[in-house]
Subunit: 155 residues, 2 copies
DNA sequence: CGTATTTCTTAACCTAGGTTAAGGAGAAGA
DNA sequence: TCTTCTCCTTAACCTAGGTTAAGAAATACG
């Protein structure tokens, strides 16, 4: 859907399924920065705005239906229907809020706490994705997540 | 300007000076999530939108002049001048882009690399703030930053 | 100026999480 | 049913960065 090295062509709106946005570190590890579930928008805004090569990959985690809105299409749409500016502003405002809280959870808690919280808040989602993706999203290796889970279910 | 525990009353636009947005971890450490320099907006969007108590603090790092736009004022302004929806959308789009890249730099590089990059890109800013704030922003202790700097200037 | 307070550095020791490696377990296909 | 892949787990050992503590250097202040 998007490969690092190419410019990000569009914003994606998930109708059904799940996308992941990730990048690859110098050491070759995949770092998932965000998932997009139903009714969320996903894009690499840096690349979308500049049309320079992206650092990110976007891939489906499961069979997924998306609406694709290219940046020129978006501009044209907004020129025709200025009322949508408000809609996109509100979408971005909510995304900004979510990003700020993500930073708090990620940098304010240990991995164990992050895992506990995430699996309490999104029990269904934890079932829905492979564990190595959850590890990548939470910011650890699959091995370490496995240890945390073993500890959590023991006591 | 904003204290954790109170709702975030407004967005702040920095006319001159520098603000910092930070939160306090369970262990009592301050974590700076963002600085706002001249011409940047700063707010806790989670709290601004919900009017629930904030997790964040906003403080001036140096003598600073800001424009204050409360959320009701913003709504009123946008109702009067709908063309400004576009302006705020673009501001948020740029902020989203910056946040995504921040995640890449923060989680894709070691602390040493992060420090090198930051001081190459923003040499003036590194002079402008105390080092314990830079450490907090880069995500380490002042002690460790000190070690990295010693190493960097040696070889 | 000199004193006080805040910031920065150094160094010894410690811990959360990473790495490597090997084996187990479920699904998918022949 | 046997094989093959992909995923998950366990365990031994390792490292980036944290903690504690103490002094050095700035900076502010009387």
């Amino acid at each position: 859907m998007l490969e690092a090295g190419q410019p990000c062509a569009a914003s994606y709106f998930v109708l059904q399924g799940c996308l992941r946005l990730y990048f690859v570190t110098e050491k070759g590890a995949e770092q998932i920065t965000r998932f997009a579930l139903e009714n969320w928008w996903l894009a690499d805004y840096t690349s979308l705005l500049s049309q320079r090569p992206s650092e990110f990959y976007i891939q489906a985690v499961e069979p997924t239906t998306v609406a694709v809105l290219s940046y020129p299409q978006q501009e044209a749409l907004l020129a025709q229907v200025p009322a949508l500016e408000r809609y996109f502003r509100l979408v971005l405002q909510r995304a900004a809020a979510a990003d700020q809280m993500r930073w708090v959870y990620h940098h304010g808690q240990s991995l164990e706490e992050r895992y506990q919280q995430f699996s309490t808040w999104f029990p269904g989602f934890v079932q829905r994705i492979p564990q190595y993706m959850l590890a990548s999203y939470l910011g650890c290796t699959p091995e370490f997540l496995s240890k945390v889970r073993a500890k959590a279910s023991a006591g």
